[in-house]
């Protein structure tokens, strides 16, 4: 089995549009949450959302490349440019090698809604234009990026709800580990527009603490009242150790374990046993003991039920060792399809800079969360190994174990 290393990361999120900005936000505990006032007029229960600017791609990409990109694809392009530059992968490299892409995405609602509106208004499908189909499909990110970057290896989208980004890294890890791919661009993308979030709002999943937007996402806190939707994109480039050394690429970290499971229960209500199985499998794959984990980047989204169940699962697996825990969603909100990938990027930035980002807004624990060692403030500490959890609707669970690279 081959060793799988990370040679590039890139990020475009509500706490920063590149790695430097994001590192500073993580260190200082800066929230990226605000209000989209249009949501109130649209009948939303909550107008809270991650706030991020759309990138300007005119001048960076040609017309044909731009018009197929949906909102989440634009974010993914920006994150992937940053990651590929870090990994020292250029156009010639992509032309000459079978680099793959496995990206997490589970909706392209705005493109679908706009196309439906046009069909209803104009009653003529030609007037949708040529970009609509490439923006509307769930695989919009992989189909566009594989074309833009001239990728020649594996090429498909992973849709696993809010664990999509994490599973994409897990699947990329398995392909490289088994020798089927040498390099895979992994990641996750998430649209932030209101149409993508309406049905989520409809099931009362969102916080309504609208008078204090930056305090609304408060994972593990006793007074949490729901998640805050957010998005952007994160890219994580996986590569075999041999390929990275041969190319002289920077080795940022090593992926040593991927665990997955399905709860086999309720479609939206989480449980404890599923995440415990996913965590145990990841640790077993990594051949690492719970006491060697220095940091847990929790899935915790700030929902009353979900955070409590994750706290129970973490306590069951890590118990007496009590590694530092934080949910970066306290700052970013829930980046949904993107979260499993962005949280790997956030945790690698912490690992590289010897700190654990704070779980902001964690003021008082409840009975379950009191059992965890949650970082209220920024902690200056060495991270040799961390684990990152991602869970999603349908009971899908993913856990990744990442370690500092050692020869």
């Amino acid at each position: 089995m081959k060793r799988v290393v990370i040679t590039g990361i890139g990020i475009y999120s509500c706490i920063g549009k590149n790695l430097d900005e994001v590192k500073d936000s993580l260190y200082t505990g800066r929230s990226g949450i605000g209000i989209d006032s249009l949501r109130g007029e649209m009948g939303f229960r909550s107008s809270l959302t991650g706030i991020l600017e759309k990138p300007i791609l005119k001048g960076k990409l040609g017309r044909r490349e731009r018009i197929g990109l949906a909102e989440e694809g634009e974010y993914a392009y920006m994150a992937t440019v940053e990651a590929t530059e870090m990994a020292k992968m250029d156009k010639d490299f992509f032309e000459e090698n079978n680099v793959g892409i496995l990206y997490g995405n589970d909706s392209s609602a705005l493109a679908v809604v706009e196309a439906t509106d046009t069909i209803r208004a104009k009653k003529d499908t030609t007037l949708l234009g040529s970009g609509s189909i490439f923006q509307s499909m769930n695989s919009t990110v992989t189909m566009n990026l594989s074309t833009i970057f001239s990728l020649k290896g594996v090429n498909f989208t992973i849709s696993g709800a809010c664990a999509s980004g994490s599973h994409s890294i897990g699947m990329g890890y398995l392909l490289i580990r088994s020798g089927l791919q040498e390099q895979v661009i992994c990641g996750g993308a998430q649209e932030v527009n209101a149409y993508a979030m309406g049905s989520f709002d409809g099931i009362r999943a969102f916080s309504i603490r609208q008078d204090e937007p930056t305090k609304a996402s408060r994972p593990f806190d006793k007074d949490r009242d729901g998640l805050v939707p957010s998005g952007g994109a994160a890219t994580v480039i996986l590569e075999s150790y041999e390929s990275a050394v041969k190319r002289g690429a920077p080795i940022l970290a090593e992926v040593i374990g991927y665990g997955f499971s399905s709860n086999g229960g309720h479609i939206s209500r989480p449980d404890v046993k599923g995440p415990v199985r996913s965590l145990a499998m990841a640790l077993d794959q990594a051949k690492i003991s719970p006491k060697e984990i220095d940091y847990i980047n929790a899935h915790a989204t700030s929902t009353p039920v979900g955070d409590g169940f994750e706290a129970k699962a973490l306590d069951q697996v890590f118990g007496e060792f009590k590694p530092l825990v934080s949910s970066t969603k306290s700052m970013t909100g829930h980046e949904c399809w993107m979260a499993g990938a962005s949280e790997i990027v956030y945790s690698i930035l912490m690992m590289q800079n010897d700190f654990v980002a704070p779980n902001i807004n964690f003021e008082n624990p409840d009975a379950d969360t009191a059992k965890l060692n949650i970082a209220k403030e920024t902690q200056h500490t060495n991270i040799d190994a961390f684990i990152s959890n991602s869970f999603g609707f349908g009971g899908t669970n993913s856990s990744l174990v990442i370690r500092k690279f050692k020869k």
């Binding site: 949708l128 234009g129 040529s130």
Partner: protein
């Protein structure tokens, strides 16, 4: 709508939306060769004409259009028909 106004609207969207170099847009130049359009681009040209001039071009109509001038005349003719 005057023909000069029509030409200005067409040239503007060719430059802004189709990223055609301004110096390429000359009345006697070949439209298809100058724009380098593929079959997907023609769909977008139909969309923008509908948006700017309020009528739908059939893709087959492009067959009889060779130069930019032909294109201007074709659009102007359709606009006049619509206004009549």
């Amino acid at each position: 709508m005057q023909e000069s106004e029509i030409i200005e609207i067409i040239n503007d969207f060719l430059v802004e939306e189709f990223e055609v170099e301004e110096e390429v847009i000359q009345p006697e130049n070949n439209l298809h060769e100058s724009l380098g359009l593929d079959s997907l681009d023609y769909v977008d040209l139909i969309v923008v004409i509908e948006d700017k001039f309020g009528f739908k071009v059939q893709k087959e109509d492009f067959v009889d259009i060779a130069t930019f001038n032909d294109f201007y005349k074709y659009i102007a003719g359709k606009v006049a028909e619509k206004q009549a």
